[in-house]
């Protein structure tokens, strides 16, 4: 049996709002069971669009024009709505960027954490409560009873993100889409959350699509990486290969643009205009992406 979980092939999409502008151009990527793949790029690269397409939450202004997204062999794009909603939240779950807006401010954590367990898994209130407690301790929340009774605003940003991780893993998904889950957090909290996501992912054998703009975060948590620009895959492969031996000039330039506290003389190199010119040329001609390994 194949251990391929997700296979996106030739995915193209346009924005109806911007006069049919392409926002994804022939994107292909795949994910094995238990693999963590980073989707990385600057704003407008298309990384969030891919994440939204995976979750079936593309805005009405975005239209997929071609391609397939096979999850365990079945194309998510052509699946009947009933089948799709059976998968979403259950087999494919989301860790959002901003837990503040993802959580309902008027409901206690317990209600929000047990919805899925009761509706999707048919648990009664007592079993769901017990499972929720177990999930919160699994994400290293020390006082789970108190947190279950709390409203979102009573928790810190890091605590809220732990709750979201517990919720995402609550139905034992096969794939978790993490959409910039640490962008709003302080660095020390970010490190804790990254460690937590990696730990949960390893313990449950869950595959993760990790959307980020930070190559440093990719280096620390992702097994493989797909770098996008303007809706097109530029370079992809095992993280170690892509970061240690970047072959595309844009990948090299992005690494050189980031400042580093340990190398005051390196970094802060602006990406030269000719690199963007080359990228636009490659987009026009549909040049092939660079694939490692």
């Amino acid at each position: 049996m194949s251990d391929l979980l997700l296979d996106i092939s030739g995915l193209s999409a346009i924005s109806l709002r911007e006069g049919g502008n392409p926002i994804l151009r022939d994107v292909s990527l795949s994910l094995k069971k238990g693999e963590v793949r980073g989707l990385v790029g600057e704003s407008g690269a298309g990384k969030s669009t891919i994440a939204k397409a995976l979750l079936g939450i593309l805005p009405r202004t975005v239209k997929v024009t071609s391609g397939t997204m096979r999850f365990e062999g079945r194309d998510l794009l052509t699946m009947a709505p009933r089948d799709l909603s059976a998968i979403m939240g259950s087999d494919i779950a989301l860790i959002p960027q901003d837990p503040q807006t993802a959580l309902n401010p008027g409901r206690r954590i317990e209600a929000q954490l047990t919805d899925g367990l009761r509706l999707r898994r048919g648990m009664n209130a007592r079993d769901a409560h017990a499972r929720a407690l177990q999930l919160l301790s699994e994400v290293h929340i020390r006082d789970p009873e108190r947190v279950l009774k709390a409203y979102p605003h009573e928790l810190s940003g890091g605590m809220r993100q732990r709750v979201m991780i517990a919720a995402a893993f609550s139905l034992e998904p096969k794939l978790v889409v993490a959409d910039e889950p640490t962008t709003a957090l302080d660095v020390t909290v970010q490190k804790q959350i990254l460690r937590l996501i990696r730990g949960m992912q390893e313990a449950h054998g869950t595959a993760v699509i990790f959307v980020t703009h930070d190559l440093g975060v990719v280096a620390k948590i992702c097994d493989s990486v797909t770098l996008l620009y303007g809706g097109k895959v530029i370079e992809a492969g095992p993280t170690a290969d892509v970061l240690a031996d970047p072959r595309h000039v844009y990948t090299k330039a992005l690494i050189a643009a980031g400042p580093r506290y340990d190398r005051p003389d390196a970094g802060l190199e602006p990406v030269p205009q000719w690199v963007f010119d080359q990228l636009h040329q490659e987009i026009r001609t549909g040049a092939k992406e660079i694939l490692h390994g």
Binding site: E42, S43, H140, G157, D186, V187, T188, V189, Q190, K191, Q192, L194, R195, R198, H213, D214, L215, G216, V217, V218, A219, K220, I221, T239, A240, L243, A244, A253, L254, I255, A257, G258, P259, R260, Y261, D262, P264, G267, L268, E269, P270, V271
Partner: protein
């Protein structure tokens, strides 16, 4: 010998009703800045870095301590007495979309302060200075007719910088000004800011949560934690040999773009 521009001693800031106790967010901060020097103020959310910056330029009131600007005690100057100092200390904001008037054209945004502070005697003189500054920050003159929302994030931040620099201040406060920008744009904006400070002899307090950005831009750095200075010093010394465990923890938590299987296993920040 460098000339001292700002000396802050024992700064305390309390928010809320002081009679009911209020919330003290700065607990006695000492800080100094020479002419032409760039200092970094770094810390996590709630550390007081933004409040400290705002206290320095008298945007928030200090409840104790003293702020000297160019030798004068400005701690309790009234609005009228502060006015001559306002032009000499400028601020660049985190979110230019929120700090630039959306109904004004870029030309109005840039000309307004010049005319208000009397740096330009006429509209024509203002336009002349603006044209020079736009060139300096690398923007085409076509942006003058645009409104802020028609520019990209990087362009808007250049306008924020141009607006501040046009007044020829001696001190600029830059609060998280690149945190919303992509890394390629961030490098351009930071390089521009460094060049401007050097060419105009500007002193700058650069507030950021990002220690890598601080190191790239600043001469000295203050590490803030819970309203106090945890550690301060030359960038070279502080980054290469941090004395405080907290500073080390902050540095260790920064993910550098190199694969390191042990990084997430580190149990120190459990």
């Amino acid at each position: 010998m460098a000339e001292r521009l700002i000396t802050a001693t024992g700064i305390e800031v309390t928010y809320g009703n002081r009679r009911r106790g209020g919330v003290k967010v700065l607990h006695g901060v000492d800080l100094h800045l020479d002419r032409g020097e760039t200092i970094g103020i770094v810390g996590e959310s709630g550390s007081g870095k933004t409040t400290l910056g705002r206290a320095l330029i008298r945007l928030v009131d200090t409840s104790a301590g003293e702020i000297r600007f160019d030798g004068k005690d400005i701690t309790h100057l009234g609005e009228e007495a502060m006015r001559p100092y306002r032009k000499r200390m400028q601020m660049i904001f985190q979110d230019p979309m929120a700090s630039l008037n959306p109904r004004h054209s870029i030309r109005q945004i840039l000309a307004g302060p010049l005319l208000f502070h009397g740096l330009a005697k006429s509209e024509a003189e203002a336009d002349q200075r603006i044209a020079k500054m736009l060139d300096r920050v690398g923007l085409p003159s076509i942006v003058l007719q645009r409104n802020p929302h028609e520019l990209s994030g990087g362009q808007r931040q250049r306008i924020g910088i141009a607006r501040a620099a046009l007044l020829e201040p001696e001190f600029v406060l830059a609060d998280e000004i690149v945190s919303g920008l992509d890394v390629s744009t961030q490098a351009q904006v930071l390089n521009l800011l460094k060049d401007l400070c050097r060419d105009l002899g500007l002193a700058m307090a650069f507030i950021s949560h990002d220690l890598s950005v601080i190191r790239a831009v600043c001469d000295r750095v203050y590490v803030m934690r819970q309203g106090r200075v945890e550690e301060a010093g030359d960038c070279a010394t502080l980054f290469d040999d941090p004395q405080s465990a907290y500073t080390r923890e902050l540095l260790d938590a920064i993910p550098l773009p190199e694969v390191d299987a042990d990084w997430l296993k580190d149990p120190e920040v459990a």
